[in-house]
Amino acid sequence: MTRDVAKFILRAYRVDGQDQSDPQVADALEMVKRDPELARWFAEEQALDSRLARSFGAFPVPQDLKTQLLAARQVIVVPFWRRHPVWLAAAAAVVILLGIVFAPSPWRSGPALAEYQPEEILRFAAQGPHATTMVGSLADTRKWLATAGLPANLELSGPLASLRYKGCRTVAWRGRTVAMVCLFDGARHLDLFVFNHGSTTAGLPGEQPEFAQVSGLATATWTRAGHTYLLAAHDAVAPEILKRYL
């Protein structure tokens, strides 16, 4: 082993000595004992590393982060089919999109189309919790919808499908089961509600998205392949901003 090889290995050696039993490191440490110049280099290397480790360890962490991590667990409702508790802190802080998926046909005794009132649905976005199950992707969301007995064949635009899917829940609205999905685009939280509108379409949006400010929320609503979608942003933006997702 050359001195340079020993240095290369020892640069990965941790200052707390935990790597002494590593065969490669042990050989390099043996060489340190025999080579005074290498020993001087190694001593300085260790001195630098211990100081820099201390510096990195002093980088400030938000004081409330631990509280959020612990408290968030308490607000998550654990679905009975999943024994694992889930956490929902981020979702509780924001809101965004609405999508309502209506229940299977035997349950489709929902409101007449003229009774469709988006502000009633949006109320769920304001009340929270925004999710009872955390998900990590659209695929997870589809699985959850299927598990919950809801239609999973959502037809979403590319931008909407590529958002980060954070959590789901169902809400009961006028006798219907509606899916609510919490999304995040990296800067904005959205809620998506999806529901099956049944056999009639009067009073519901068409295939072209309609944009509006409802109950202080920017919303977009549209109907596609038997489902009506309601997307909402909660950060006081103009409704047209939602075009980027559709």
């Binding site: 990965a12 002093a58 631990k66 612990l70 956490w87």
Partner: protein, 183 residues
Amino acid sequence: MNVDDLDYEQIVAVHHEPLYRFAFSLAGNPDDAAELTQETYVRLLTKGGQLRDRSKVKTWLFTTLYRVFLGWRRHATRFPHFEISTMEPELPHFTPAMADEVDGVMAMDTALQIEEHFRAPLVLYYLQGLAYKDIAEVLDIPIGTVMSRLSRGKELLRKRLCVRLQKSAAEPEALDQDEANQN
């Protein structure tokens, strides 16, 4: 192992700070760092069943956070990509005395100027004292690559810190000169 068997509070208490710091070193801002940390704990709660060996919690958390970050980055342009010049100026030798002047913010800020493939193993090494074999597992790269990146990453970090310290030392002089010129 079921996540119910894990002492969630204990895991939060022990690991949330180094996880946040690692997240910050990847994302470069506090909001995304906090969200990456939160998302990691969400996955512990929802997918903790994948964790068979309790002694692997630390590695699992760092691995998960890094994968979440990579997933986000594929869909977003919010994470800045830092380029470092390959032309390094002639710098003084970085000594332990100089390292004593480096606080946490300066260390992190300087690390953020280093390319991510050097930065990630470097921060894992310094932050949580992860062994190079564990770093290889977290980042899913060969052990030899980890050692190579650690070696080069340390060199880059020290050079950048030298530059920072030189600038810090020079700024008061520049200010004095400005004042003298005004008078």
